[in-house]
Symmetry: C2
Subunit: 412 residues, 2 copies
């Protein structure tokens, strides 16, 4: 099989490591069956030999061979014969890779204005994408199911014939519990306490996991992004509100109740600015869109641009030297720095990743904002970096969620 063979995962050309998924398994050695550890290691590494597998997993070579043979026989792995280029002495290793074409999983993301979807193979490579505009009045669960089914149908149509789709992940804003599959509440839905995973699984006819959007982003960073090599990190995102995802010991941490972490509603000021949640002093009330927009009228001398363009106009003014506009962003930036510092102080992560769509952090003058953080943390703060993705990150994270839930079933 050649490297161009579509069955194996494509070679990345950028500096990122190949493969997908966390670089080290979450559990300590010997918790999971060797079969799963080997498969996940191959997927994570992208391409790896048996000998390297044995060394990395700290098992004897004699234990690797039969497991790999079985995985080859069931066509979950394949051998790449023409890798050549040894240069070293000794018998050249046989490179292994996952059979990416054995199955696909779908990642689905519901947001307030648009649905997006991605189909990825078992190596995590996208093979198809689709979007669907969201009708504003679509706030009921039956309607949601219709929309998701439509989105999924479009996705399958785009992909054409191919491997079977064996799992899906679905994400949306709100309080969603991945473990139970329940949606407790969502800002874009009227109902509460819905068994969303069950409903969607039945409607789509495939096993579906659900999670909230901040956790999707965290999964995207853990599986495909800058968090793959880190044991403990935090993901902060600014979209509708301020979201937070945590990774503890290479695994996503969802708290005791399974809902998300609420960085956006941590209090940064007693009796501070009013927040959408009805409380005062929330970080969101200083950093989120609505917080900036509500002050924009002053800076723009009452010339309110059409809805949806306020931030852009304000940003242009700030760059143009408008002191009031600049002051708005400055304060938001300082408060965001404070929020990040608090995350660093409370969690002591390896790194904080500001993730999401690009512009948000431009608005906040990321460089200047980040420069404030060291003055607000007791120890040296962890490296903080901005990771800008395209609009399909969320779907990518949902696909990672589906993939991580599918893997045990696939290997069983």
């Amino acid at each position: 099989m050649s490297l161009d063979d579509p069955r194996i995962n494509a070679i990345r050309t950028d500096g990122d490591p190949p493969g997908c998924g966390p670089l080290r398994s979450a559990r300590p050695s010997s918790s999971l069956p060797l079969r799963q550890r080997i498969y996940e290691k191959v997927r994570s590494a992208g391409r790896i030999s048996r000998a390297a597998l044995a060394k990395d997993l700290e098992v004897s070579p004699g234990s690797v061979t039969p497991v790999v043979s079985d995985l080859l026989a069931t066509e979950l792995l394949c051998e790449l014969e023409d890798v050549g280029q040894t240069g070293a002495r000794g018998r050249p290793p046989v490179t292994l890779a996952v059979r990416a074409d054995r199955a696909l999983v779908a990642g689905l993301k519901v947001s307030d204005h648009e649905y997006s979807a991605l189909l990825v193979d078992l190596a995590g490579q996208p093979v198809a994408r689709a979007t669907l505009p969201r009708a504003a009045e679509s706030r009921s669960v039956p309607r949601l199911l219709d929309d998701v089914a439509e989105l999924y149908a479009r996705l399958l149509a785009t992909a054409g014939d191919g491997p079977p789709v064996l799992g899906a992940g679905l994400g949306m804003p709100g309080m969603l519990d991945h473990a139970s599959g329940r949606m407790r509440w969502s800002p874009i839905m009227a109902e509460r306490d819905v068994d969303l995973a069950v409903c969607v699984s039945e409607r789509l006819g495939i096993e579906t996991s659900v999670d909230n959007d901040a956790n999707l982003l965290t999964m995207a960073e853990l599986w495909f992004g800058k968090g793959r090599a880190l044991s403990d990190f935090a993901v902060v995102t600014i979209e509708y509100g301020v979201g937070l995802g945590l990774v503890v010991d290479h695994a996503p941490y969802r708290g005791a109740h399974g809902h998300g972490m609420e960085l956006g509603h941590t209090k940064v000021q007693l009796d501070g600015a009013l927040c959408r949640c009805g409380q005062r002093g929330c970080l969101e009330a200083y950093v989120a869109d609505f917080a900036l927009v509500r002050e924009a009228a002053v800076a723009l001398n009452g010339e309110i641009p059409p809805r949806g363009e306020v931030l852009e106009a304000l940003f242009a003014q700030a760059k143009d030297g408008n002191a009031a506009a600049r002051a708005i962003f400055d304060r938001a930036g300082r408060y965001l720095a404070l929020g990040l510092a608090n995350v660093a102080n409370l969690f002591d992560p390896n790194r904080i990743i500001l993730s999401g769509s690009r512009m948000r952090y431009d608005f906040l003058y990321a460089e200047e904002m980040l420069a404030e953080v060291p003055g607000l943390t007791l120890n040296d703060p962890p490296p903080i970096e901005v990771n800008a993705w395209d609009d399909f990150v969320w779907a990518r994270g949902a696909a990672a969620l589906a993939l991580s839930d599918l893997t045990p079933r696939l290997l069983a």
Copy 2:
């Protein structure tokens, strides 16, 4: 062997469950060898039959018998024959318990004014205690080692002859990394970056683990306190500063770098009150002793009591109707509530335990302070409770640390 036999752990008379240690093991099933899981389960339960062991650990009864037989043979467990009181049909179960008298571990605590130490048996029951006043000038590592050795000698003298001491735990304020055994920095020491665990192990002649004081308290709650049955909780303490300990999935979480969490230096106000750390707006700068004391002069009309009695005098005045004194405590309480709310928002724990010595939370009018928290969290806050211990909690936590580190060695 009767229940009065000193070899088994004493029966608790209060409502707490018997035994010590987390009620569920941190790791998923089958990660640790069954031998260790059984021993820890017996210790955790206090008294338990083989059949119950099999059911609780989800292993077959046939797997339990040989392991227990071996543990009986090596005198790590014992059978209690006269428990009787079956009342039920069928063969009465044979109750097992750990042989508490097989060995002891020491818990040592260094603070700014006093050293305290506790000797506990393998069931976690204290068998001896000792204290040693600390000389103010004692800020060097050699002197610390001398003092700790003296403390340990006193402890052994108090205990008299008995089982061997097989391990010790040592805690002090500052940034201590349990995993590496290093003290990066401590407010009560002049040196930095000391391999403390190695030094103390050599000096005392027994295997010693180190950790910071907030984590000791967390261990105490996890092993002996209200956290035993919880999977995820936070421990907040107010002593010299404001400390935080976290338990994630039944195991203490120490962050990526092994130092403690810095709740006391999370920022609750931009450009707020000046903190000892040199930054502004830290929670500590509103809640810790020094924050209250520096405002006391105003409330006490310049009549400054002798050092060390300021808080008591201020508290008395506040209770007596002094509005200024009351305002000082009120503000501190509100900020503490804010800090607790932030912990709840960021961590989503099962519970938050305010732990430490009793008076601190009286100062802060715990009831009224706690009533503020729900107004500051997005979701319903977790139950928050005050757990008041005596002055030996820290040593107790250090002993728990030693015990948890000793167990694998003991069973090997």
